[in-house]
């Protein structure tokens, strides 16, 4: 009898360890279509969530994505509220001082969205114009470089786009994928907004998953999983799903 009990206990213990596959908490600001955004079913969907889910499968961990406001997303990481930021975070030197990054998973440029009729085609055309972007993004850093003090920061890129459409801004700077989504495919704005031009970067800009400074273990898991997803061709499947095959 005692033997049977101990056998059952052992079985339970083994099952528990396998079921106890590591859970990694991801934070995404789901206001950045098509990279990560809220679906009508109130799910965070987009390129990054799909990629994270594929990585979880390949890497044998459970991914839990929580929607987090952008302003403060880095503070939350530092405070240990989640393990990873998967929110189109560009890898920059300044950010590397405060956190560690996975291998790049996407390359972006900064796109400039303008109203259809304004004829803004170069950075020089933006002189003296009202330029806006989401607070704390590389798009806002570009806006500050171009417009200086008068660059306007918004909590969400969608609010900046709304102000652009309303005529309170002349240009909004954001990741090219997001810029294209608003200017070309968004049913609300595609008719009135256009993609003015791309800012030519000094060095290529990559997106990475951000983890707490010194969190080598999570970084290793992420990098291995990312590599597996890229090698298996699943990365390309997800890429084509969101950005077409061109």
């Amino acid at each position: 009898m005692l033997k049977r009990v101990s056998l059952v206990l052992m079985a339970v213990a083994i099952l528990a360890t396998t079921a106890q596959a590591k859970t990694i908490m991801f934070a995404s600001d789901c206001t950045w279509p098509p990279m990560e955004f809220m679906s009508e079913g109130k799910q965070c969907v987009g390129f990054a969530p799909d990629l994270v889910m594929a990585m979880a499968k390949a890497g044998g961990f459970t991914a839990n994505i929580q929607n987090t406001a952008w302003d403060g997303i880095f503070a939350g990481l530092a405070a240990g509220k989640y393990d990873v930021i998967a929110s189109s975070v560009s890898i920059t030197e300044e950010r590397k001082q405060a956190m560690d990054f996975s291998d790049p998973y996407f390359e972006v440029k900064q796109g400039v969205v303008v109203r259809e009729d304004t004829g803004i085609k170069t950075e020089a055309d933006l002189a003296g114009k009202a330029v806006g972007a989401q607070i704390g993004t590389t798009g806002f850093f570009a806006a500050q470089r171009i417009a200086g003090e008068s660059a306007k920061s918004y909590d969400e890129v969608g609010l900046a786009i709304a102000d652009l459409a309303a005529g309170r801004l002349d240009a909004v700077i954001c990741d090219d994928a997001v810029a294209a989504d608003y200017a070309l495919t968004n049913p609300e704005y595609a008719k009135s907004l256009a993609l003015g031009f791309m800012i030519v970067p000094d060095a290529p800009e990559y997106l990475g998953f951000a983890v707490q400074k010194g969190d080598a273990k999570t970084l290793e898991t992420l990098n291995a999983a990312l590599k597996a997803v890229k090698d298996s061709g699943e990365y390309d499947t997800i890429f084509n799903k969101w950005f077409g095959s061109n």
Partner: protein, 296 residues
């Protein structure tokens, strides 16, 4: 039937005004102001340069914008408040209903939602208004001045700058509160004053503007000062409209440098010092206004 006894509590926003009689509060004021000023000075001079850097980021434009929003909003609120207060005690039923409904509706909607509504929801509607030249053509059958007026109104609404939108939203919200202040102030004046003025041959309007309002002003001013302080604090909400006030500047600094603790500590201290100074001013004003009450 036994008359129901009702306990009545006057709910005011008086927390911001230290009463002159309250020695405890007075010393609390000194502790707060000296503490805040010392904290700012020590932190700015400390080894951590992030404190001074974040403070520098707030000056001067962040503070100017905060004051601009507050001052213009309170002016609009005073105007709306006077009209609303008079409307609330009006014997004209339609006017009374309009004023009361305004107060009821505005009081029932959070300020943050009002800001979003006026800026983004109405902004979306205004976007589809005709341009200046289109408007002029649209109204060409109207008399010249009316057509010009309409065209300019359309143009203004279409291109409403963020600061104006913020001031409009804050002004409309606080106008409702101010209306209640005005109403209470006017009603606090003894009926005898009105009766005396009327029997001396003043008409209704003369009674209100020459007899009642000048006396009511003394009751109204302290709560108005109080609302001014409350409005200054609430003006931090406009930072969501990309209006570069103190809070917005602090957030911009923090989002780049990741020095959240330093930036928000400085933002909090700057707000604290401003409101402490203002509340001192308001309580000084209250003392002056109470002068005659004490010496009668």
């Amino acid at each position: 039937m036994a008359e129901k006894r009702q306990a009545k509590i006057d709910v005011t926003d008086g927390a911001a005004i230290p009463s002159a009689k309250d020695r405890g509060l007075l010393s609390a004021w000194w502790v707060s102001i000296i503490g805040a000023l010392t904290a700012i000075a020590l932190l700015s001079l400390s080894d951590n340069p992030a404190y001074f850097a974040s403070l520098k980021f707030l000056f001067p434009d962040g503070i100017i914008v905060t004051f601009k929003v507050t001052v213009f909003s309170i002016l609009l609120a005073l105007l709306l408040g006077l009209v609303t207060g008079l409307g609330r005690i009006s014997h004209n039923r339609a006017v009374n209903l309009v004023a009361s409904t305004y107060v009821e509706v505005i009081r029932g909607i959070p300020l943050l939602v009002q800001l979003f509504y006026i800026y983004f929801a109405l902004g979306h509607v205004f976007r589809n208004l005709p341009r200046m030249d289109e408007a002029l053509e649209m109204f060409q059958h109207w008399p010249d001045f009316a057509a010009y007026g309409m065209a300019h109104i359309c143009d203004f609404l279409k291109n409403m700058p963020p600061l104006v939108a913020a001031v409009t939203a804050m002004g409309f919200c606080y106008g409702a509160y101010m209306g209640e202040v005005f109403r209470a102030g006017i009603e606090s004046i003894d009926k005898g004053q009105t009766e005396a003025a009327r029997s001396l041959g003043f008409d209704r309007r003369q009674t209100m503007f020459l007899v009642v309002l000048p006396q009511a002003w003394r009751t109204i001013l302290p709560p108005v000062g109080n609302e001014f302080i409350a409005l200054l604090k609430d003006s931090s909400l406009v930072s969501i409209l990309a209006v570069a006030d103190i809070l917005r500047r602090g957030r911009e600094y923090a989002s780049v440098s990741f020095n959240y603790f330093e930036a928000y500590t400085m933002v909090a201290l700057v707000y604290l010092i401003i409101t402490l100074l203002l509340s001192k001013g308001v309580s000084a004003m209250e003392n002056r206004l109470n002068y005659y009450d004490h010496h009668n």
